[in-house]
């Protein structure tokens, strides 16, 4: 399992585009926001937590269709499926590797981009915390979506359609926590709910994803 994790990491790092692309996408979305809504700093302060969360979510989505598709195309997924590892474990590991290459950089970059959007000073810590709590769920739900659409040619658009509604609760609680902190309110409740959703997703989703992938490998 550890070998698979490092293999996925190495592939993402070396295959060019996987690692930095999500981050660059996040940056460009955030840069485009002031162009579309205007440069008034009061307005930007108000929408910053939501925009940062939405940008992170979209950047996460961007790399999902490569999560399984590459291994599917070259047959590595069939080999993995016949290995003694449980399919659920493989998917959890792949989601973890996806999180390290996509989610983690987004979490670390978010405060910097927060400066660009004039985020209120109190919001930085909770923004990072909420993203750190929420993005693992995004990766794991995404792994489920990737397993659903792996057999479909040009499944990327369908993947977005299937996965985005599943992201709604995470987005609501994550952005709510960041917004409350930015406005100086207590963010504990949404943070706890967010952590609860992430834990439940991490516990249950590998099984749903494994089930789906087994159907697709049949």
């Amino acid at each position: 399992m550890r070998a698979l994790f490092f293999r996925d990491l190495a592939l993402a790092l070396r295959a060019g585009g996987g690692f930095g692309l999500g981050l660059a996408f996040f940056l460009i979305v955030v840069v485009l926001v002031p162009f579309s809504v205007g440069p008034q700093s009061a307005l930007l302060t108000q929408i910053a937590p939501g925009v940062l969360w939405l940008g992170a979510l979209l950047a996460c989505l961007l790399s999902l269709d490569r999560l399984l598709a590459v291994d599917w195309e070259d047959g590595a997924l069939d080999l993995l499926a016949t290995s003694p590892l449980p399919l659920e474990g493989i998917l959890a590991v792949k989601a973890a590797a996806h999180w390290v290459t996509t989610g983690l950089p987004l979490v670390l970059a978010a405060p910097v981009l927060g400066v660009l959007l004039n985020l209120a000073p109190g919001g930085y810590g909770v923004l990072v915390l909420s993203l750190a709590l929420g993005t693992p769920a995004l990766s794991m739900i995404g792994a489920f979506g990737a397993a659903l659409t792996v057999g479909i040619k040009r499944g990327g658009l369908l993947l977005s359609l299937l996965v985005l509604p599943l992201y709604v609760p995470t987005l609501i609680f994550g952005a709510e926590a960041a917004r409350r902190a930015a406005q100086g309110l207590d963010p504990a409740t949404p943070l706890l709910l967010l952590a609860g959703i992430t834990l439940a997703v991490l516990a249950a989703m590998p099984f749903a994803a494994g089930l789906v992938l087994r159907v697709n490998l049949r």
């Binding site: 369908l158 509604p165 609680f173 709910l193 159907v215």
Partner: protein
Amino acid sequence: MSLWEYANPVKFLALSERVMPWLWVSSAVCLVVGLIWGFFFTPDDFRQGSTVKIIYLHVPAALMAINAWFMMLVASLIWIVRRHHVSALAAKAAAPVGIVMTLIALVTGAIWGQPMWGTWWAWDPRLTSFLILFLFYLGYVALWEAIEDPDTAADLTSILCLVGTVFAVLSRYAVLFWNQGLHQGASLSLDKEENVADVFYFPLLVCIGGFVLLFLALVLYRTGTEIRVRRTRALMAREAKLA
């Protein structure tokens, strides 16, 4: 004699063909009676004026939009557990009907909301969760359409339906947390206290009955079509093999 006998497509088709004319006629009667009664023979509301009458479309459609998803959930479970093809096809057949019901609820709600709330749309929890339900329906139908092998499609969509149900319920309560409501509370409930006045209540019940019957008729009809499509495809495949 058990319910599972009708998992056999031949028996299912025979039964549904016998039942369907009754369903069509009775749903038409209910809808015509309920809507005419509701539109022309009930008084205008004290505050809402005649706009209150959209309730006869809005409430039954919203009710059926949720029940259609619930029916798909049950059918998906039956497919996963007992692998009856009719069940999977019934879930597939119900989805577009559910989409239309959701749309009717959203559109009639907007038409009513414009004069009453002064806005076509508000990010109210109920409205928002219906919009999310609509997105779930779209994803479900899109997944059915995208996969060629019918058994794979049935498996994948069933699991999507189960996972989607969990997340739809979760979203329902998440949006409650996220914004305060503009939508009024329930107009109908089993304990009598909250119900609308009887003048509106009885035609509404007739309309709801009409919608339920219409939904049943449409689902049976569409399931029959799906079964025949499957059969035709099997026949064509066999002939292609012989030729």
